[in-house]
C-alpha cells in the first residue's frame, strides 16, 4: 500500500474515532432535556461524559491536523468551501466546552438553565456540521482548477449533504442513549434504554439513506459488503437494547458507524474531494498529498503516538467505568 493510501486510511480512522467517541457525548448533550427531569438527573447525564468529552474532542483536532499535514490541499479546499457550516460548528463547540465547565460554578437555577441550553444547542449543531462536511467530501463540490469553490457560500448545502448531516445527528442520538443505558443506574438507565429502543429505527434511517445514495452513485462490491455489515450491526444493536444488554448494544452501534464510514470513504477513494465540475479538478490521494518524506515522518509519529493514545484513553474509560446514579452526585458547592 502506498504511503498516501495509508494516510488516507489513518485520517478516515481519526474521523471514525471522532464519530464514535464524540458521537455518544454529543448524544448525551442532545438528550439532556429529554432524559434529565430535574437538575440532579441532568448532572448525572453530564457527569457520564465529564471526564472524557474533552479527550474525545481532540479526535476532531487531530483529524483536521492530520489532513493539514498529509493532504494540505484537501484540508485547504474543504475547510474554505464549507466555511459557514464550519463556523457554526466552531461557535457551537466553543459554547459547549465552556458550558460543561461553567454550568456548576454558580448556584442559581437560571444560570444552570442557560448553560443547559448552550449544551443542548452545542450538541446538536456540531454533528449536523460534521455530517455535512464529511458528506461533502464524499460527494464533492464545484471546485475550479485551483481547488477553490465555484459559486456561493452555500454551495456545500444540498439535499444529499443535509441527509449526511441528519445521518450523523441520528446516529449520535441513538449512540448517546445507548451509552447512557450503559453508564447510568436505576430509573435513568431504564429511561435511556427505552428511548434508544424507540428512537433507533427512525434515527438511523438518514444514515442508511445516505449509505444507499453513496453506494448507488459510487460504490463498489466491497463497500456494499460494508453497508450490509452496518445494517446487520444496527439490527443487532436494537435487539441487544431490547434484551437489556447495553454493553453489547453500544458495541454493535460502534460496528455500525465503523462499517458506515468504511462504505462512505471506500466509495470516495482514491478521491479525497471530488469536483463536480469534472474529474480533472478533483483532489485525489495522489495530487493532494504531501511529499513522501513528510508522510514518512508522520507515519513514524503516528505509529508511536496513536497506540499510546488508545492505551491511555482506554485507561480513562476503565478508571471511570462505574455506573453513576443520582445517589452519586455530591451537593452543589460554589463560593
Amino acid at each position: 500500500m502506498s504511503l498516501e493510501t495509508i494516510w488516507f486510511c489513518v485520517i478516515v480512522l481519526f474521523w471514525l474515532g471522532y464519530l464514535f467517541l464524540e458521537g455518544f457525548d454529543f448524544g448525551v448533550g442532545m438528550l439532556l432535556p429529554v432524559l434529565g427531569r430535574d437538575d440532579t438527573e441532568r448532572r448525572v447525564l453530564i457527569n457520564t461524559i465529564g471526564p472524557v468529552w474533552d479527550g474525545n474532542e481532540v479526535w476532531l483536532i487531530v483529524a483536521a491536523g492530520a489532513m493539514f499535514a498529509a493532504f494540505p490541499s484537501w484540508y485547504a479546499s474543504l475547510f474554505s468551501a464549507a466555511y459557514l457550516p464550519l463556523l457554526l460548528v466552531l461557535l457551537a463547540l466553543i459554547g459547549r466546552g465552556v458550558a460543561f465547565e461553567y454550568r456548576g460554578k454558580v448556584d442559581s437555577a437560571r444560570w444552570r438553565r442557560n448553560w443547559d441550553r448552550v449544551i443542548v444547542i452545542g450538541s446538536w449543531i456540531p454533528p449536523l456540521g460534521v455530517g455535512l462536511l464529511l458528506t461533502t467530501t464524499v460527494l464533492g463540490l464545484p471546485l475550479d482548477a485551483h481547488g477553490n469553490r465555484v459559486g456561493g457560500a452555500f454551495e456545500a448545502v444540498r439535499w444529499d449533504t443535509l441527509l449526511g448531516a441528519l445521518a450523523v445527528v441520528g446516529f449520535a442520538l441513538v449512540h448517546g442513549a445507548a451509552f447512557l443505558a450503559l453508564k447510568t443506574a436505576g430509573e435513568l438507565r431504564e429511561r435511556a434504554r427505552v428511548f434508544a429502543v424507540r428512537a433507533l429505527p427512525v434515527a438511523l434511517l438518514p444514515l442508511f439513506g445516505l449509505l444507499v445514495v453513496v453506494q448507488w452513485r459510487e460504490g463498489a462490491l466491497w463497500t456494499l459488503v460494508a453497508l450490509l455489515v452496518a445494517a446487520v450491526a444496527a439490527v443487532s444493536a436494537w435487539r441487544k437494547l431490547v434484551a437489556d444488554r447495553d454493553g453489547q448494544a453500544f458495541a454493535a452501534l460502534g460496528v455500525t458507524i465503523a462499517a458506515a464510514v468504511v462504505t462512505l470513504f471506500g466509495a470516495l477513494y482514491p478521491d479525497v474531494l471530488p469536483s463536480t465540475l469534472g474529474a480533472a479538478n478533483s483532489l485525489t490521494v495522489v495530487n493532494a498529498a504531501s511529499s513522501p518524506y513528510t508522510l514518512t515522518v508522520m507515519t513514524w509519529v503516528g505509529a508511536f503516538g496513536a497506540p499510546a493514545v488508545l492505551v491511555y484513553q482506554g485507561w480513562t474509560y476503565w478508571v471511570f467505568r462505574k455506573r453513576i446514579s443520582t445517589a452519586h452526585i455530591p451537593p452543589v458547592h460554589t463560593p
Partner: protein, 492 residues
C-alpha cells in the same frame, strides 16, 4: 475592507485572545502540579489547599483556552487556504504533532486529574497533573516550531513551486524556535507568577489582622509567585537578547522598525522612547531618546558594528524579492502594485517597548512582594494589594504586545524569506488568503468576536467569584455519607 484585511483582523483578534488563556494555563498548571507534589511529599494541609484553590482557577481558565484553540487550527483552512496549500508539507507536520502528541495527553490527563481525586492512588493522581502540565509545554513547543518556521524557514526546499520538507529535525531544532520557546514559556510563567502574587497579596492583606487559618496558604502563594516571576524575567531577558540577535540576522527589517531606525548607523544607538510620529513611514521627524551604541551591541554583541536602517533595507528587499506584487488576479487590488516592505512602525516600535516595559513591571512587583513578606512579615499598607492586583494585567499586556510585534513585524510576508539559508521559500501575506466572499469572513469575524467578548465577561466574573471565595469556596465542608463514600469527590 477586503478579505485579506478581514482575515488578518480575525487572525489577530483570535490569536491574541487565545493567548490570554494559554500562558496562564501553561504557567499555572506546572505550578499547581508543583503544589500537589509538595502536598504528596509533606502532607501539609496548606499545600492541599493551594492545589485546590489555584487548580480551580486553572480549570475556569483552561476551558476557554481549549475552545479558542480549535478556532486557531481551523482558520488556516478557512481563511488562509492558499497558505495551507503552499506550506502544508512543512507547516502541517508540527501542527499535527501538537495534536497527536500533546493535545491528547493534555485533555485526557486533565480529565483524569479533575475527576480522579478519589478514584486514583495519590501518586498516580499526581502523575496525571504532571502529564497534563508537561503536555501544555510540549504543545507550546510544537506550535512555536511551526510559527518559527514562518519567521525563519529551514529544513525545506522548493520543489514544483512549493516548499517541500527535507528535514523535520531542522524544523524542530530551528534556532528561531529554540530561542522562542524558552522566551514564550517564561512569559507564561510570568503571567502565572503575577496571578499568584496579585491574588495571594490581596487575600493576605485582607486577613492581616485576624489570625486566619488560611494565612499560610496566601503567604506560600506569594513567595512562590515572587520567585517564579523573578526567575521568569531573567529567562525572558536572556532569551529575548538571543532572539534579538537572531532577528537582526534573519529579519533585519523587523528589528529596524522595532527601533524606528531610518538610516543605517555605525555604531547604532538604542532608542528608549520616541516623541513624535513614528507612524510617518519615513520616520524623519521622530526624536528619540537614545543610548549610544547600545543597539550595535544588542544586534551583534559589539559596540561598534553597523546596523542597517529601514531605508537601506527597503532597497535591499526590493532587489531580492521584487518591487511589485505579481500580476495575479488572485491578489485582488494588490496585483501588480508596489510592495511595501516596511511593517507598521507605530505597532512594531511601541509593541517592542510595551512588551519589555510591562514584563519588567510584573517582575518588579514580584520582587517587592518578596521583600514585603520577608521573614514572616505581613504587608499592612493599602497600596500593596492594589498594586499587586493591578500588576496581574502587566504580563498579559507584555505577552500580547510581544506577539503583535512578532507577527506584524514580519509583514508583508506570511513566510519570511531566510536570508542566510533556504533559497526561495517565502510567501506574501496577500497571496495566502482564501478565495472566499467578504460576507463569509465578516460573518465569522463578527460572530467570533462577539462570542469571545461575552465569554470573556463570563470568565472574569467567575474568576472574581472564586478569588473572593478563597479556600472555603473550593473545599466543600465535610459530608456525612450514610452509606460510606458513595458520592463522587468531584462532579460537574
Amino acid at each position: 475592507m477586503d478579505v485579506l484585511q478581514l482575515a488578518r483582523w480575525q487572525f489577530g483578534i483570535t490569536t491574541v485572545y487565545h493567548f490570554l488563556m494559554v500562558p496562564l494555563t501553561i504557567g499555572l498548571s506546572v505550578l499547581v502540579a508543583g503544589m500537589q507534589t509538595a502536598w504528596v511529599r509533606t502532607g501539609e494541609p496548606r499545600y492541599y489547599k493551594m492545589t485546590k484553590f489555584w487548580g480551580k482557577l486553572l480549570l475556569v481558565n483552561f476551558a476557554m483556552g481549549v475552545v479558542t484553540g480549535i478556532v486557531q487550527e481551523f482558520q488556516f483552512g478557512m481563511n488562509w487556504n492558499a497558505y495551507s496549500r503552499f506550506v502544508g508539507d512543512v507547516f502541517g507536520a508540527p501542527l499535527a504533532m501538537e495534536g497527536l502528541v500533546a493535545f491528547f495527553v493534555e485533555s485526557t490527563f486533565l480529565g483524569l486529574w479533575i475527576f480522579g481525586w478519589d478514584r486514583l492512588p495519590k501518586k498516580v493522581h499526581l502523575a496525571c497533573a504532571w502529564a497534563f502540565s508537561l503536555a501544555t509545554i510540549a504543545s507550546a513547543y510544537f506550535i512555536l516550531a511551526a510559527n518559527s518556521w514562518m519567521q525563519h524557514p529551514v529544513g525545506a526546499e522548493i520543489v514544483n513551486g512549493k516548499p517541500t520538507l527535507r528535514s523535520i529535525w531542522a524544523v524542530l531544532t530551528n534556532n528561531t524556535a529554540l530561542a522562542a520557546i524558552p522566551h514564550t514559556i517564561a512569559g507564561a510563567f510570568s503571567v502565572a507568577a503575577a496571578f499568584l502574587v496579585g491574588i495571594g497579596g490581596w487575600h493576605l492583606w485582607r486577613k492581616r489582622r485576624s489570625d486566619d487559618e488560611h494565612r499560610s496558604v496566601w503567604r506560600s502563594s506569594i513567595r512562590l509567585g515572587g520567585w517564579t516571576g523573578i526567575i521568569a524575567f531573567a529567562v525572558l531577558a536572556i532569551t529575548g537578547d538571543t532572539q534579538g540577535k537572531l532577528m537582526f540576522e534573519q529579519q533585519p527589517m523587523k528589528m529596524a522598525s522595532a527601533e524606528a531606525l531610518c538610516h543605517t548607523e555605525q555604531p547604532a544607538s538604542f532608542s528608549i522612547v520616541a516623541i513624535g510620529d513614528v507612524t510617518a513611514q519615513n520616520c524623519e521627524d521622530v526624536k528619540t531618546f537614545n543610548v549610544p551604541a547600545l543597539l550595535s551591541f544588542l544586534a551583534h554583541n559589539d559596540f561598534r558594528t553597523e546596523v542597517k536602517g529601514v531605508e537601506d533595507l527597503v532597497t535591499q528587499y526590493q532587489a531580492h524579492y521584487g518591487t511589485n506584487y505579481p500580476d495575479d488576479p488572485a491578489l485582488g487590488e494588490l496585483a501588480g502594485k508596489p510592495i511595501d516592505y516596511v511593517p507598521n512602525l507605530a505597532v512594531t516600535y511601541w509593541g517592542f517597548r510595551i512588551m519589555i516595559g510591562f514584563g519588567a513591571i510584573s517582575a518588579g512587583t514580584g520582587l517587592l512582594a518578596l521583600w514585603l513578606t520577608r521573614r514572616g512579615r505581613i504587608p499592612d499598607t493599602k497600596w500593596f494589594p492594589r498594586l499587586a492586583l493591578l500588576s496581574i494585567a502587566t504580563p498579559f499586556i507584555g505577552n500580547s504586545a510581544g506577539w503583535i510585534f512578532t507577527e506584524m513585524g514580519r509583514q508583508p510576508f506570511v513566510v519570511v524569506p531566510n536570508p542566510s539559508g533556504v533559497d526561495g521559500v517565502w510567501m506574501f501575506t496577500a497571496q495566502a488568503v482564501s478565495r472566499i466572499s467578504t460576507g463569509e469572513v465578516w460573518t465569522s469575524l463578527l460572530a467570533l468576536t462577539s462570542l469571545y467578548a461575552v465569554l470573556g465577561v463570563v470568565e472574569v466574573f467567575l474568576m472574581r467569584r472564586y478569588v473572593r471565595g478563597g479556600i472555603d469556596g473550593v473545599i466543600p465542608p465535610e459530608q456525612n455519607d450514610e452509606e460510606g463514600k458513595k458520592t463522587l469527590a468531584f462532579a460537574y
